[in-house]
């Protein structure tokens, strides 16, 4: 060819040809390269968002732990009061004294003032005399450097008194000057007129707003709590953090759950087909392959039987194609048609996603813990090596794939170790992406689907 005059002349003539593109052309290029750069920021934003969620969750977690103040348990019928998690140097606890004594003689001024200012029922001297009091006071350590730094901690943990009596426990919050126990009493309470347990029981029966569950206080075998247990099912309104994992099979197809309706009319014809078998070749149908994912999740109860969740996940989907031998090119890799061999190529898809979901308990609290989960996902395709099919074989071009996907997921699960610090939830799960995989090429009008197992490990706060 080199020595051929005709080709040389053609080349010389055509190489000198220049055509000025339209002004719009550069604008389109510029927009696309800016978009590509913006897309690169998306994973960074997802990671930042994840960090924010994790930090926020950690903060909420700490706040909850700090505010708990006490957790109460009953052992052999006797009431045990656990001490608050305030730094030892910041507190001075007086225990085992009658409330009136503790308040009138031993309790610090602050506590007395708070209790006294709360009206009749809040005056410690008016609480039933047989009630034993455990009074905890918090004194600010008189250090020069740490004083300001620890102020918040002190405030958070300031519980003026926790009072135990034969039938239960109540606590007095020094900030709000309210009597609290397994219930928080929001209205006036006069110890001369009614006993505390009767007051609570009557209000529970009436469904009165005068009482409300107290965060972090648990009383086992309480004569007050037990009879009413079913009528006031506890709603866990605190965020619980955990990890989520899933594994199964992913598929791409043009009907529901990734099934392939048909390949008619053929998307592509491979010229090799006419060489070997006298008929046009077809690109191989993508087949299902492994998929897995993992991430963090935060959950919060919205009713006794349901909770919402949000998180951030990494997700890996894959499918396989039957391809021929490999051909090199400048920036892409090409594979010939099926007629030129049959090796398996794994199309990998890497995503990052934000799931938002709802979990509903389908059974009663004391029964088998069966849940239904529904989720909506927003996913961003980070990268893929998936092959597209052309007239003469396969080639890789991730630009043909959509980047953002919206999908729905649903599944059932059972929970184990729900009373432990770590609970495990496992169950079958199915997902379907509403967004198309691509708008042209081999995956035109096709959707991702996933079928597999999903598990969650949730970290519950201390009981």
């Amino acid at each position: 060819m080199e020595g051929n005059k005709f080709e040389k002349e053609i080349r010389r003539e055509l190489e000198g040809l220049k055509i000025t593109p339209s002004d719009q052309s550069w604008k389109n290029v510029e927009n696309r390269i800016r978009k590509k750069r913006d897309r690169r920021l998306v994973p960074v934003l997802f990671v930042l968002l994840g960090l924010c969620l994790a930090t926020g969750g950690y903060w909420v977690w700490n706040s909850i732990n700090g505010n708990e103040g006490r957790s109460v348990a009953s052992e052999n019928g006797s009431v045990v009061v656990k001490k608050p998690t305030v730094h030892d140097s910041m507190r001075n606890i007086t225990e085992g004294q009658p409330l009136e004594k503790g308040v009138e003689k031993d309790a610090p001024e602050k506590v007395n003032e708070k209790i006294a200012s709360s009206g009749n029922q809040k005056k410690p001297s008016e609480v039933k005399p047989q009630v034993e009091a455990r009074v905890e006071t918090v004194q600010q350590k008189n250090t020069e450097i740490k004083a300001k730094k620890d102020e918040a901690k002190v405030k958070r943990a300031r519980i003026a008194a926790i009072v135990s009596y034969p039938e239960g426990v109540i606590a007095i919050d020094s900030n709000k000057a309210q009597i609290t126990g397994i219930t928080k009493i929001n209205s006036e309470f006069n110890a001369d007129e009614i006993s505390i347990d009767k007051f609570i029981r009557e209000n529970i029966q009436r469904g009165s707003s005068a009482i409300a569950p107290v965060n972090g206080l648990t009383l086992l075998h309480s004569p007050i709590a037990t009879p009413e247990k079913n009528s006031i099912r506890k709603v866990n309104k605190k965020w619980i953090l955990g990890f989520i994992f899933s594994a199964g099979l992913s598929q791409i197809g043009n009907s529901f759950l990734g099934a392939e309706k048909s390949m008619d009319p053929p998307i592509m014809n491979f010229p090799g087909g006419s060489v070997n078998n006298g008929s046009p070749g077809l690109p191989s149908v993508p087949k299902h392959s492994v998929a897995f994912g993992g991430g963090v999740v935060a959950k919060k109860g919205i009713s006794p039987s349901s909770q919402i969740s949000v998180g951030i996940n990494y997700k890996y989907y894959s499918t396989t194609n039957v391809v021929g031998y490999r051909i090199g090119a400048t920036t892409d890799y090409y594979y010939s048609g099926n007629q030129f061999g049959s090796s398996t190529y794994h199309n990998s898809f890497h995503f990052i996603e934000i799931p938002i979901g709802l979990d509903v308990r389908l059974t009663k609290p004391n029964k088998f813990p069966l849940y239904w989960s529904g989720n909506i996902y927003v996913s961003e395709l980070l990268s893929t090596n998936a092959l597209q099919s052309g007239t003469n074989g396969y080639f890789s071009d991730d630009g043909l794939f959509n980047k953002t996907y919206v999908g729905l997921g649903s599944g059932f699960s059972i929970t184990a170790f729900s009373n432990q610090k770590l609970s495990l939830t496992v169950g079958p799960y199915v997902r379907y992406d509403l967004s198309k995989v691509a708008n042209k090429g081999l995956y035109d009008d096709r959707h991702f689907a996933f079928l597999g197992l999903r598990s969650e490990i949730l970290i519950h706060r201390k009981k």
């Binding site: 290029v29 007239t391 003469n392």
Partner: protein, 202 residues
Amino acid sequence: MQRNAYSGCQPCILRGMDHDQLLRDCLKHKPEAQKELYDLFAPSMLAVCYRYTKNMDDAENILQDGFVRVFQYLKKYRGEGELGAWIRKIMVNTALNYLKTSRNYQYDLLFEDSSMHVVSADDPEVKLNAKELANLVRQLPTGFQTIFNLYAVEGYKHTEIATMLGINEGTSRSQYARARALLIEWMERTSLKEKGERYGRK
């Protein structure tokens, strides 16, 4: 129009004097450098794309796809060859991908295997200008057009073309021979027509 650091020094760039700086700035995603690189190569690259397509819209689409790839893969350019040749290679690959995926072209890009080589007149004189010649090439069937461009203009060998298009080397040779013969025939007709018009006017 505001002049930037590269304005007016196209010869310098072509000689490689500002070449490295332009590349460095493009790699830093400086918009003015990217625009300069585009302005520098777009006209000749659009001509390349034009030869592979049937209309200007498709040619511009390929040009845009190609330049997006150029900026995307610029970090992979190691300066081993001329930048223009590297960009041109990307444009050609982009054009081939476009032909394979576009519904307007993919069914026309089927190659029938034939061992029959059409014999054409050797080395006829090319009397057409570049634009006329390009327009004639574009009138060839897509398969002929692609192989003719790859062989006669880009200088690929038939073995390379066969690999790129997933066809036999013999198919590439025969398709090229047919394309060449057809083109020569059209060129001669065009010359005769022009002559006729000239004599007619006289």
